[in-house]
């Protein structure tokens, strides 16, 4: 706990020390926290769970995330304002159930794609698309699910006043093609509420960018309750987004299944405005 708090303090110190108020930051920040913005982004994230249910050790996931709009594809459809893709590639370290040793390896790659229609209620944006999990975790049942997963996705976000973003990103996935014989059946709904308040100087506070999810097979929730503090500002002329957040999951899984209880997430992201 002490080490996690030290990391957290260091992260906030870094965020506070970089850059100064930048006029473009607030609007660029709203684009960076819009899940279907046409802003190219490259993000490095680290998700460290220092306490886990059913394991007396920590787990960690290093994530590479890309946000890439596809304007040339969207331009072929008159009704669309844009198409935005988001890919998340994890590298996972997790304790083994016997409490001895750890497993490390690639996790499953998550891919979201949203078509963003031109027609939308005033001061809002919405999108629909697909959510695909590619089993890049391979045969490793500790870091990967061993199955392709697919389902629909949707997002709605409104900005009732400048600096405030409210909405939700939702997707559901089913297992569609197993690459491992003992892959478990999968049917899970992911819900990411969006509530972000931007402040002068590029600062913002928001709900976690990690979804809450409900497992219909096991009939149980995995929650990520907490908050994120972030900042968008230029570092050496390069627009960047940095955030840190703490999440708590009160839902313990059945014995024999490891799940995070306390998680600290940190991101360094590079923004590439047009």
């Amino acid at each position: 706990m002490r080490r996690a708090l030290k990391n957290f303090t260091a992260a906030i110190g870094l965020a506070a020390g970089l850059g100064s108020g930048n006029v473009a930051s607030a609007d660029l920040g709203e684009a960076a926290t819009n899940p279907v913005s046409n802003l190219v982004q490259f993000r490095l994230q680290n998700q460290h769970s220092w306490e886990n249910y059913n394991a007396d050790s920590w787990s960690n996931a290093g994530l590479i995330q890309t946000v890439i709009p596809l304007p040339s594809v969207a331009s072929k459809f008159d009704s669309l304002k844009g198409i935005v893709t988001r890919a998340t590639i994890p590298y996972v370290s997790t304790p083994q159930l016997d409490g001895v040793g750890r497993k490390h390896g690639m996790g499953d790659t998550n891919f979201l794609a949203f078509a963003v229609p031109k027609k939308a209620p005033p001061k809002s944006v919405w999108g629909y698309g697909v959510a695909i999990d590619i089993p890049t975790g391979g045969d490793d049942e500790f870091t990967g699910s061993g199955t392709w997963k697919m389902g629909p996705s949707a997002v709605f976000m409104a900005s009732p006043r400048k600096g405030l973003q409210v909405g939700a990103l939702v997707f559901h996935q089913w297992d569609t093609y197993d690459i491992r014989s003992n892959a478990a059946d999968f049917s899970t709904t992911f819900i990411q509420p969006i509530l972000t308040q931007h402040f002068p100087g590029g600062w913002y506070i928001s709900l976690p960018d990690t979804p809450q999810n409900y497992d219909w097979e096991e009939e149980e929730w995995t929650l990520n309750l907490g908050a994120v503090l972030g900042r968008v500002m230029p570092v050496g002329g390069q627009p960047m987004q940095i955030f840190g957040g703490v999440y708590y999951n009160p839902e313990e899984k059945d014995e024999g299944r490891i799940s995070a209880e306390w998680t600290f997430k940190f991101q360094v992201g590079w923004l590439f405005p047009q």
Partner: protein, 155 residues
């Protein structure tokens, strides 16, 4: 469980204090003038500024409600000189719908104490106001009161 809740509250307190510290940090360099509501920001990159200076149309980007909209900028009659050119960027005020950014703008220059142009204000017939700021430290511009036209580029 009690210890965990204490930890959580401790971290949330740290978050809150840091947010408050963030709010207390210097505000943006330009604050909205009284009666105007900032709606977004816009930028014309250096290469496009040079295109404008050469008498051609240039392209810029408007960031409005979390989305980037490219636009074409023509007729500005901007003369650029100095050793350090750069982007031209600024804020957009009173923009309710993105289409309202389109139109003809007549710039009115802002001057510093040395009577150098530091920026300009302009508005169109829909009440949208643009503020323009120079980014290059030694950049000088010569704005002529010609109508500058902004037109959104279909994506």
């Amino acid at each position: 469980m009690v210890t965990n809740m204490k930890n959580f509250l401790c971290i949330l307190s740290a978050l809150l204090i840091t947010v408050l510290a963030g709010c207390a940090s210097p505000p943006p360099a330009t604050t909205a003038p009284e009666g105007l509501t900032q709606s977004g920001t816009w930028v014309v990159r250096e290469d496009q500024v040079m295109a404008l200076a050469a008498g051609h149309a240039g392209q810029g980007t408007l960031i409005f409600e979390g989305w980037q909209y490219p636009f074409e900028f023509s007729g500005a009659r901007i003369g650029v000189s100095g050793t350090d050119t750069g982007d031209i960027k600024g804020e957009v005020y009173n923009l309710e719908r993105v289409e309202d950014i389109e139109g003809t703008y007549f710039p009115k220059a802002e001057f510093d104490a040395a009577n150098r142009v530091t920026g300009a204000w302009a508005h169109n017939d829909k009440g949208v106001k643009l503020h323009l700021r120079l980014q290059g430290e030694n950049m000088e511009i010569n704005l002529q009161a010609q109508g500058a036209t902004i037109k959104l580029i279909e994506q």
